[in-house]
Every structure is written in C-alpha cells, then in structure tokens.
Symmetry: D2
Subunit: 371 residues, 4 copies
C-alpha cells in the first residue's frame, strides 16, 4: 500500500528553503518521494510578481543537491503569489511513499502530465479535453476510480506569449486571444472545465469555445488551476481518498458561494472530525495539515447585496483584496493564517466564491474501530 | 425617557448623501436629533485620503438644508477611510429622540465636547486627563453612572500641524513630536488612555507621558479614537446601556486579542441573543444594526506564531492589510460586509487586536417579560 | 476686441479654492468671464480618484457665491487626477474679457457645447462628427477661421454607465462596449478624432467605427480629451491665435513622439521667444503661463528600444508612471513642475507620445513694433 | 597600464543573465576581470523588493560557471530596485584589464573592502572613519592620488537586523537605532559622509554622531551608497580619472540641486565632449556608456516653491515618485531611459537633489592630439 505525506513548512522569504532542507536532512522528507510543491509567496500575485520564480529557482537549486535533473524537473511547483492581510508564506510539500500501516482509505495523490498543447488550442475545447484526459490518468495513478472520491485537482497550465502566438499564426492558425495576460485566465478556465468534465460535474455538451472565460455559471467545485510561462503542457495533481492508500491523512472539500461563505468549509471540517465550533482550537489546529482555497472578487461588485470597491480600486488589484478578505474569513474559522489562498478562479467555484480543500490528520480511531 | 436610534445607510460614493436625504425626507430620521455620523469611505485611510473630507463636505451641505449652521457644526462626523477587501462603504447615523415606550435598559448615547487642547499638551497626560473628564461628562449626558455600562467611546481628537507646532514653540513650549503624522497616533493613543482612565480600565499612576504611544500593554477595551485636522478639541460619543433610555436597541462589546480572534465577538453576539453558530443567519443579520471594530497589524510581525508580511509591504500600507483581514474574519462571523472596521488602534485593545462594539435590535420579549 | 486671461493658481488640497477666491476678491479675476477651469488634482487619476469630483464640488460652491446657477453650470471644469513625481497641484482658469489694448493677434478662447450624445453613438463615428461640428462652432466663437491657428482643443466628453447602456439596449440599440471603463477610452478617442477631423489633420474617409480606439497611427496633434460621468454632451474649449483678440498672451503647440521627446516642445518655446537653452531661466519661467500635455505609456513596452516596465506593473498603474516620467522630462525643460500633464491619450498624439500646448506672455515688443 | 571596461547590458527580467553570458561567451567580457556589477531591477526598491536578491542569485549562479567561489564572492553586486516611469532594467558590469594602448588619463576603477563593522558602530562616526579609510585604499588601488580625480564612489554598506542588535546589546553596547529600516538610511548616510571625509568635501570636525541622518546640509557630491543585509563590511568601488589607466573611457560628475536640476549634468556632458544641446543625438547616445544618479524627494515638500505630493502619498512610496521624475528629467536630457537612477540619498547631494556620474567613450582625438 502507498502512503501520502503532506508537509507544511513556513518560509522566511521567497527563496527560503532552509525548512525544506532541514526536513530532508533529518529524514522527515525523502526528496525522491516529492511529487509536487505548492507555495504561497509574498509578491503581489499579479504580472510583475517575481517572488514565484525566485522561490522556484531556490527550490530547484536545493533539490538538485539530492536528485538528478530529470527528477527535479518532474516535480510540479505551483507558486501562488500574494499573502495579503496576515496570510503567511509557506510551502506545502506533497510526498508519496510506502505505507507503514494498512488503515485506509486515506489521502491519495495522483499525478499526470499531458502532452504539449498547441498555442491555438489554448483556452479552447481542445484544452478542456486534454486536461480531462490528464485528470483521468492522474486519478488512475492515484488509484481512485470514483470521481466522487476526488476532492481537489491542482493544475499548472500554459499561457500564450508573443512568440507562441506568432508561431501559431505562422502556421495559419488563430489563437483564442492575442492578449497574453488574458490567455492566463482562459487557460485557467479551460483547465478547470477539463476537471469538471473528468469528474462529471459538467457534461461536455454544455461546453463550447464560446463559454470558456465567459459563462460563470459553469464551474468545477474541485479544480484549482494556475498558469505558468515555463511549460506548454499541463502538470496535474489529484488529491482524493482511496482504499489503496493508508496513513493518517484524509482530505475533504467544500465550495464557498462567496468570499465569506464559511459554513460549507465548517461542514467539511466537521466531516473530518473537527468540532469547528466558531474556530478550531489549538489542539485541532495541530490536526489541520493544509487548507487550499480559491478566492476572487465577484464581478457584480456586490457581496450579499452590499457594494464592494475591489473592482474599482486602481491602487490595489482586486485579486489582492479578495485574497485578504476571504483569507480573513477562513483564518477566522480555522484559527490559523498559514492558508493557501490563491486567486484567478475562472470556472473554479461560483462567481465570487471558490473551491476549498482541507487536508487533515484523522482522529485516532477507537480500539473497536467504531468511531 | 429617551430613545436612541441608529441608522446604517449604504453609500454609492464618498459624497453620496441620497440615502440620508431620503430618510430625512420620509421622516425616518429627524435631523435635529442627529448627534453623530460615522462613515466608512473608500479611500486608502492614510495621509492622502480625501474621501473622508469629501464625505464630510457633502454631509454638511445636505444637513445645512435642514439645520442652522451651529447645529450642523455640533454634529460629530467621524469618517474612517478604507473599505479593503469586501468591506462596504456606509454611514452610521446616531440619533436621539423621545421614547415611545418604556422598556429599558436600552442603548444610550451621550455626547461631550472638551475645550481646546493646547498643542504642547497633545499626546501627553494633559490630553489624557482632558479626555477622561470629557468621557465622564458624556456618560452623564447619557445617563450612565456605572462605567461597566459603557460599551464604546468614539472620540475625534486633534492633531499637530506645522502652524500649531510653530505657535506653541513661539510661546516657548515644546510639543510631543514635530512629526505631524506621528502626532495623529499620539493623540489617538492619549485619547484612548483617557477613556481607559474614565472607565477605570487603567489607573492614573500607571500612566505617564513616556508610555503614551509606546507601552502597548496599556489599552482600553472600549475606546475608538480618530484624529482630524479640523478641530483642536475632542468630540466624544459614549455608547452604553442605561435604564433612562428605552427602545429596541442594545449594545455590547468585545476585545479581539488579534486580527482573527472572533470568539469574544461571538460571545458578545450571544449575549445579545444571537445564536452566532458559525455565521449569523439572514434573519439574524436583520437584527444586527452596526458593528464597529478597530484593526491593526501586530507589531511583532506574527499572528499566532505565523509570519505576516503586512509591516514589510511597501506597496500596500499595513493598515489596509489589517482592515481587510480582520474585516474578513468579522464578515465571516456576521455574514455581512457592512462593518465599520477602522485602523489606528494605539492603546485601543491589545497589540494586533482591538475593541469591537455591536449594536443590535433586541429580541422580542415574551409576553411575561421574563426573557 | 476681446482679451483672454489665463490664471495659474497653486492649490493646497483638492478642495482648496482660497487662491481662486482671493483673485476674485481683489478683482484680478472676474467670475463672470470664466469659461473653463482646468485642474491637476492629487488623486490617482484612475477609476477611484475622488479628488476630481471633490475639486469640482468645491469650485462650484465657491463660484455660486458670485454667479447664478446657470452660469456656474456653464463653466467647463476639467479636472485631471495624478500629480506623480513632483508634478504640482494647480488650477488653470480661462477667462474672457474686453481688451484694453489692440495689439493682436493674441490668444483666443472659444467655447461650444454639443447636444447630448445617444449612448449607442458613444465611441463611434457619430460622436466623431458631433465633436467635429462642435469644434467648428468653438472656432467660430473664438473668431478663428484657419484651423492652422488652433493650437489646443480641450474636450470633456461623456462615458457609458450601466444605466445608459441599459437604456440604449432597451431601445434595441447596441453600444460600442459594455465595459464602462473602456467606454471612457473610446469616448476620448472619438472626441480626439473629431478634433482631427475639424482641423483637417485626418480626412473623414480614413476613419470608421472600426479604427476608433484601435488604430494608433491616426491622431490629432492638438486634441486633449477627458471623459466625465456628469455629462452626456461635449464641452469644447478651443485655444488658438486670432487677430480679433489682443493682450499679452500667446499660444503654440508641439507633438511629442514619445515620453522624452522634448525637442519639439523646446522649438515651440523658442517660437514663443524663449531661449530654452537647456532649461528656462527663472525670468523666463515668469513668462510661462501654462503648459498642457498628454502622456501615456507606449503600448509596445519600449522607449527608443529600451524595455520599460510600466505596462506590467500591477502595483502602480501605467498612466501614473507615464505622467511622472513625461512630467519629469517637461519639468527638466521648463524648470517648473506646475505642469498640466494628463493621461488617457487615445488618438491624441502618436503611440507613447502626446500633444503639448504652451501659453505664454509675449516678449515686450520693441518701440517700433517691428519684432 | 591598466584599462577599465564598462558594459551596459539590458535585462528582460530580474534573473536575466543571458546578455552577460553572451558577452562572456564571445569574449567581450573576461569574467576574471569583473570587479563590480551594478543593476537596476524592476521591483519597488523598498523593503519587500525581492528582485534585487533574485538578480544577485542569478548573477552568482552564472558567474560560478566561470569563476571559483572566492572570486564570485569578491565581486561587488549592487542592485538598485525601481524602474519607475520608463527607466529601463539593465546591468552595468565594471571590468578591469590590461591596456592595449597608452593614451590616458582614462577611467580608473579602484576597489576596497573594509573589515567588518561592529553593529554598535553602524550609523556613527566609527563607520564614517572606516569608510573614509576604505575610500583611500580604493583610490590607491585605482592609482588615483588627487581626490579631485575621483568622480563617483559606489559603496555597499551593512544594515542592522534584530539579531545584530541583540548581539551588540548582549555585549552591553547600544546601537544607533533599533529600527532596522532606519538603520539602512543611517548606514547609507554614514558611508556617504565617509566618502566626503576621504575626498575632503567635509572636514572631520564638522561631523559627529548627532548630525548623521539629520543635518542635510552636509553631503558628498560624489558618493552613492546602498545598504544590504548580506554583509557587515563595506564594498567600495571608486571611479575616477588616472594617468595610470588608458583606453577610451572617461568619467565626470555633477551635483543636481533638485530633481530637475539638469544643467550641471549638461555641463558635465559638455566637459566630456557632448554638444548636449537640448538632448543627446542618437550618435551621441552611442558614446554615453552609463549614467548613475541618486534621486530623492525633497523633505520640504516643495520643488522650487511648488508643492509636491510625494511625501504624503500613501499609495506609492516617495522614493518611487522621485526616481520616476528625476529619471524623466535625465532621460529628457540624455535621450535614453537606460539610466541607473537609485534612491536613498542620505548625505549624497543636497536635500532633494543628488550626485550624478557620467561614463562615456571619449571623442576620437585628432591626429595631432591637440583636441
């Protein structure tokens, strides 16, 4: 049997890998088992946020001391910029190893890489299908058969650059957008719809090129996607529950309908055995391994009828406002600010809301196993 | 008997007084009864936030159609800039009138103005004593005898300008600081300590000029202070419970120990009859009239041990981060984003936390009156 | 004969009208002669810049003490937010009166208001034609026949709001864009093209709905346009030279090809009698009455081949960067920072550059009048 | 004889070392000769600007392919964040080699490292003396005897951290400030005064601990200092003219009295053989190798009497405004935006102004050598 390990490591700067190195050094992390590293870094999370690349650069340099180049390149690194409010910079290291016990079902981690996407397919149904197939492969890799057992799908997808657009147009193709910033949103959206397709949340006939990035009523409740310039394929990590895995970790998910819709998250926490009566206690916070959430400003400019000013603020980007506020709501619920709240939630949860995944250590079972 | 009325009015822009005018127009508000108007406006809440002055200008122009100049000038206007995250711009109008029933104790509103403060006394014990005396007067005006019945004291205090400093120095006096921005914090802090003195939260011998603005262990749990350039005295509004008042409104308060310390606020809500089980229901939100809170970034750069980046962010001021994050936590608890969360919490609540007041409509009493 | 007066008045805050009031008070300005007031205010010049409205509100209140409401409403007020770098907040009051001498040609000021624009015409050729007709009227009002004598056309144009779009669509019409922010750029661009049409800079057959806001090769070298929510028509102010006017003021213009293309401006200064050898001397600066310029970041992300980062900066909007930088270049040339540098230069000057107008007091003529 | 080489290399991102690598690859740069690398990176130039460390990290990794660790560590790397306006990110590589000709005097580059500074000496006279001695050594290293031949001294100095303060206090010492951000300004100021002392610009008896960071009337016209957390000593690079050096490069300097005081810079350009008549021509720009300048907002809030708003802007830090504006003025003069304009000018030039160094290729001499 396999066992998933998830390590949450605080960082003191974007390039701080001392925590990771210490855990590798004392054997708590086996670098060969790392399949993905997610990170919150302290840049603005927007176009000119170089803290993400700086973090990836430092992580790769650190891992290169332990792994061959191919293995380092095979690790998915998803950095999310923006620790607004009191959100706290940290890394989440996903590791796979052999189980020491046999007490599943438990957290399962599956990975897949798609082939390279042609630029003209980005943000279109071809990308949706490609991702859906990749999610199916990652589920298989995780030993998960039932889509209902999948709780979170983290995807790193490509984006368009001037060069890529030129290359496609030189071949007589057209691209979904010539605006490179916009292409990030389209790729995130198409990838999220790929998740929705793979998990049966939306049927294929409801989708078309025309709805991607436009119809906010179509969304996945379990997708979290992020665009990066350094790849043309998709790196897919599936988190779910599987009987083929054991160990102390479990995962569940919720969908927030808006930035302060914490009750579904509370319910997910309760399903995982937390009292979640107002706020997790210090003891409960020890059991909370990681919380991953998507946040965005609702496009209507209102939250439950009250006007918000996020979309009209030319000093602070709306995504930063949204992460701070939803981050505050989730920190109020969990009692911790070391939360992976990221932005850019196209087709990921309803307009203004987003999916949330909770990874926790399960409660100790009673001897009779009847807990 | 007297009766307090509190009106929360959404605004569409800093100078939007249409809601206030409509309520005056249809008789829901009697302009002659208005004693104070608090407002959240959508500027940055920092030095170059002109939305506050714009709002005050519009309010005074609107009220001038109904009241003589003296009466308009007598209304305390406390604008707090900064609706970060999804915090929603709004006005809170405090009105006093005659009671139609006799069912107190109920919310009581008391007002007082101190005399003008000499610039050399600003941010020093002389200001603390002046404010303490003013709070006592405002309590008397409210018909509150026991300091324990006071739940919130909103104060508008003066600040130093180059002219005021020059005037004091011309008389051979020294000022607490020649940095005008810093003088705002000192005045807010001294005023808060004045509240603490009046309410018996801190004894006089524990205070001195040297601790003002420095010793964060000394604070009031019920003060909310704000500095403005347009006055040299103090406008003091006391909110509390008094048997001399009746009507449906009640008030209570809590002290948050940090930006996400929502449990004391939940407890205050429960004391006011809310279930507050995770989040107020839509029906409960109807009963919530106003929530006023102070938020600030903790100076240690940590929230419950986790590093935050608010104090090192040169793109967004720390006060904006703090309002967004604490605002999110409080909105998660209450289910609404129309919250009066303001910054600048010197000696108002513990380092990184702040006082919170909740004004609510009381639950209908059972016929026997034994609830 | 008529005479134009131009007053440049420093302001201490967005709502500071003390300088204007003083000049009215001592007779230097006759309020009845004011036709337009331009102002640089210290907001961000973007969506949530309320300093513009605050300034207009204060100006209208001040003028209302001297003029009937209709006259106040008839004065065009064009506030431009953004005093980045050391740009200095100020007002430019344009006044018309009777000449005391007869020594033209001199600065001429003409005004016109178009009728209301239907929302479906905004940003389209119908607006271009409407503005062109208005410019012709304003030229007539100024007594200018030859378009070559026009040096600057300042226009305040409308924008779309959700309500206006809905109204047009209710009538079965379509609008040029449903993005209200984008509508500002389209209206500014269409208005600038209207100027180009009226002045013969571009012929009508070169224009169509499709090129508005898209073809940056089409531009006026004398248009400066600004969109405001408070009007649905166009306020047009033409500045030029006319023999029907006398007095000490003259005007000329230049077109900057990029943000640091100061040589054409130097040449305009020289045509107006300035040595302009490196930087205006203090004595020359006394003769410089006003400089009005448009600045914008070039869309190619390059300035003379060197990469700039304005368009990728998610912390500071590109328009703010552009004003600061072009403002620095123009201040280096003129030796003063009290310059009216505004953003949003669609079809106003070439991509990355912009039109510049200089108003100056003419050099004293030699006794023989043969200068 | 020795020869200095200066390479200005555009970068596409903070970690872009492709230009440097290409020049090393084709022999234009000998990595063993590099003594210092200065860089403008595109962060905010303030506390949370990680583009500087990212650039240094990439530079060191690139150089490690060519040099042993000790040699890499010996290269001074001075990254200045902030390319506001159209300022363009670039590197300036300072290289020393053997001369191929003997046609000095020419640009000379001298280096020195001081010993480690004890934390309690930072920002105090002990640092001033230490730096003065280091500058003397660097002059000697450059073969410059007369201080009048020194035109620019670039220094990287240490700063205080919580750990360093604690270490000093554990030894019973006090530090100049416990505010780590403030310590950067004090160290920059003390280092600049060290330059002034070494160059005879200020005599020692005019200085004391008390004036450091306070008396803005004391300044060096040739110092440019920058604080970094990664060192406790000082890296000193002196640029001047020496007969012991030959080659085509020359250097001169100027002092700007305020942000738009370009005339002294024009005069320096003229001394270097540029016509500098309004703006450098494209041909002249080929001869301009590098321009290094310090910019800062004047503390009086005025530029030549006109109010600026830089110091009151809570959205954009004043240093960013200042770099953009002074950068615009200098770009207007030189016709290029690839300028090394950096902030933090304590005791470097007068209040609101700063030193400027110009490195250029000399004009070809006439055969008779009598130019």
């Amino acid at each position: 049997m396999r066992q998933a390990k998830v390590h949450r490591i605080a960082t003191r700067a974007p390039d701080d890998v001392s925590g990771l190195q210490a855990m590798i050094g004392d054997g708590r992390i086996d670098p060969a088992g790392i399949v993905a590293i997610l990170g919150k870094t302290e840049g603005n999370g927007c176009v000119n946020d170089f803290t993400r690349a700086f973090a990836v650069s430092a992580l790769k340099a650190a891992l290169s001391a332990h792994l061959p180049p191919d293995a380092v390149a095979g690790i998915a690194t998803v950095m999310s910029g923006g620790t607004e409010g009191a959100l706290s910079p940290h890394l989440i290291v996903l590791e796979r190893g052999s189980a020491t016990t046999s007490d599943g079902p438990a957290l399962a981690i599956g990975c897949a890489h798609t082939g390279d996407l042609a630029p003209e397919h980005l943000g279109r149904m071809a990308e949706v299908w490609m991702v859906a197939e990749g999610v199916a492969k990652a589920m298989h890799d995780a030993g998960i058969e039932d889509p209902a057992d999948v709780h979170f799908v983290q995807i790193k997808c490509p984006l368009l650059t001037a060069e890529r657009i030129a290359e496609a147009e030189a071949r007589g193709e057209t691209v979904a957008t010539r605006d490179t910033l916009k292409s990030m949103g389209l790729a995130r959206g198409a990838s999220a719809l790929g998740v929705a397709l793979a998990l049966g949340e939306i049927e294929a006939h409801a989708m078309s090129d025309a709805i991607i990035g436009r119809d906010t009523s179509l969304w996945s409740g379990r997708a979290s996607t992020s665009a990066g310039v350094e790849l043309m394929n998709h790196e897919i990590v599936v988190l779910g529950m599987s009987k083929a895995w054991s160990g102390p970790l479990v995962v569940d998910h919720a969908v927030m309908a808006d930035a302060i819709d914490i009750l579904p998250v509370r319910d997910a926490l309760r399903r995982l055995g937390f009292a979640a009566d107002g706020q997790l206690t210090p003891a409960e916070r020890e059991r909370l391994v990681a919380l991953l959430a998507k946040a965005e400003p609702g496009t209507a400019g209102r939250l439950r009828g009250a006007r918000h000013t996020m979309l009209d603020d030319s000093d602070i980007s709306a995504t930063r406002h949204a992460r701070a506020f939803a981050g505050g709501a989730l920190a109020g619920l969990t009692g911790t600010s070391e939360l992976f709240v990221s932005g850019g939630a196209e087709h990921q949860g309803p307009n203004g809301g987003g999916p949330v995944a909770v990874i926790a250590r399960r409660l100790p079972r009673s001897p009779e196993g009847d807990s």
